[in-house]
Amino acid sequence: MRREPPQRLADYGPLFFPAGMLTLFFVVPFATMIAVSFFQRQQGGFYTPDFVFDNYARFLSLFFGKVLGFSLFLAIAVAIACVVLGIPFTYLLARSKRRIQVIWLVALLCILSLSEVMIGFAWSTLFSRTAGLTNLLVWLGLVSQPQALTPSFGAVMTAMTYQAFPYTVLVIYPALVRLDPTLTEAARTLGASPIKAFFTVVVPALRNTILATLIMVFIFALGSYLLPQLLGRPQHWTLSVLITDQAVYQSNMPFAAAMAVFLVLVSLALVGLALYAGRQKEAK
């Protein structure tokens, strides 16, 4: 049975349900959100249909600029940490025995699927005064008193790297596992050390994959909304936290929607820019 274009209306039959569901419950909600971002907010959490730019105008404040700047900075820092850690790890993993790969993959999937609430809770426990890491340092005699390591920027950063690391590995894994092993073998035969072969052969061969991974992890990290709340101070809140806060606690849906639309635009713009940069490099 060859693939053929649909001829009769009935051939489109299987498409009706999926297309209908995705349109009704993804495209329409997305459009609703964009519409609400132009609505006028009323007192008491209500809003009325309108076409105003007030919600977007609120972006032009120092507070908002700071939150946006911090969100981008945090996401970039997490993406870099994950890629720097993830590429050598995945490279070694892809060259391990199949059985070892499977065990690691199961473990990574378990952590990837773990609820952000639970990751936040686990790290707040590990960073707590009574059950945390510092107790180990006290026991080793390095510090005299156990202390809490949260809330702090380091805690947010560590937990977000933890959350994004399995994702990073799974994004790079297909490219690394398919990488031709003769490439590095050739470099090794010519006398390069394993580390030199990794940096001079593997990394350049994967330049575009690395760039793509950086972007994917960056967007993933931009979406983190609970960890900054659970492990950070208010100045560590990101755009995602602010959106949730405005929508749920401040009942300001139009402003939350405007920020969400803005977040989509920022994500898409950065993806476009990075893809463009990648193509430029390739053309050279």
Partner: protein
Amino acid sequence: MNALRRLFFLAVGLFLALPLIVVAGVSVNQRQSLTFPPQGFSLSWYGQIFTNPEWRNALIASLTLAASSALLALLIALPLAWFLWRRVAPWANIFQLLGVAPFTLPPVITALGLLTFWATTGFYGQSWTAVVSHGIFFVTLPLVTLSLGFSAIDRSLVEAAATMGADDRTVFRTVVLPLILPYLVSGYAFAFVLSLNEYIVAYMTVGFTMETLPIKIFNALRYGYTPTMASVTVLFLLVAAVVFGLVARFGDLPKLLGAMSEEK
């Protein structure tokens, strides 16, 4: 070099395991205190999940939501993946893109979109809206595994069946379905586990009327610490480990995640 590699794997493993070890430790504390190493040993906090009505209701809500929304995701993904495999219709790829989008964008965007949608249509807070929301949010997973499954089908098999006079329906039932069954199961498994753990979409759609376990933990965290949070975390980890372990046992996990199939 080999020692260096082991050390690196050990360090990463330690980083990944440490928070979970501490959580497992505090979950068996005898008294309601956050101490590690645990003082005494008690499994009563695991019992709490099933005996305390609040936690039990949250567990039932989570399981129901995950089971039904994963099914809905599968029902959306299967005909779509089949259509894209069976027909030449480039414009239909837009639906593939729509199926992958909710998972690629920051989740708060999908959550807020659905919140405004349910609020506008007046269904906000009803429990079935969470099923639809999760079904759409996680449609990516069965869609990806099924696309992979369909692309692995040898077309000459299907052609043979068609030459012998089988129509689309018979071919699907007798040839295609058995071949994609593992991908169907793993797609469902991925969607199920992720729905079980999902917080923001569930919170924004039904957070004020219904508590799933992640919502319950977050709400409980605001009032301080109870060891049940730790035991639920361990329980969820075990569920994920069993599910993914089974997928790996009966399927080809590296291939499912993008490697070539195992050389026999």
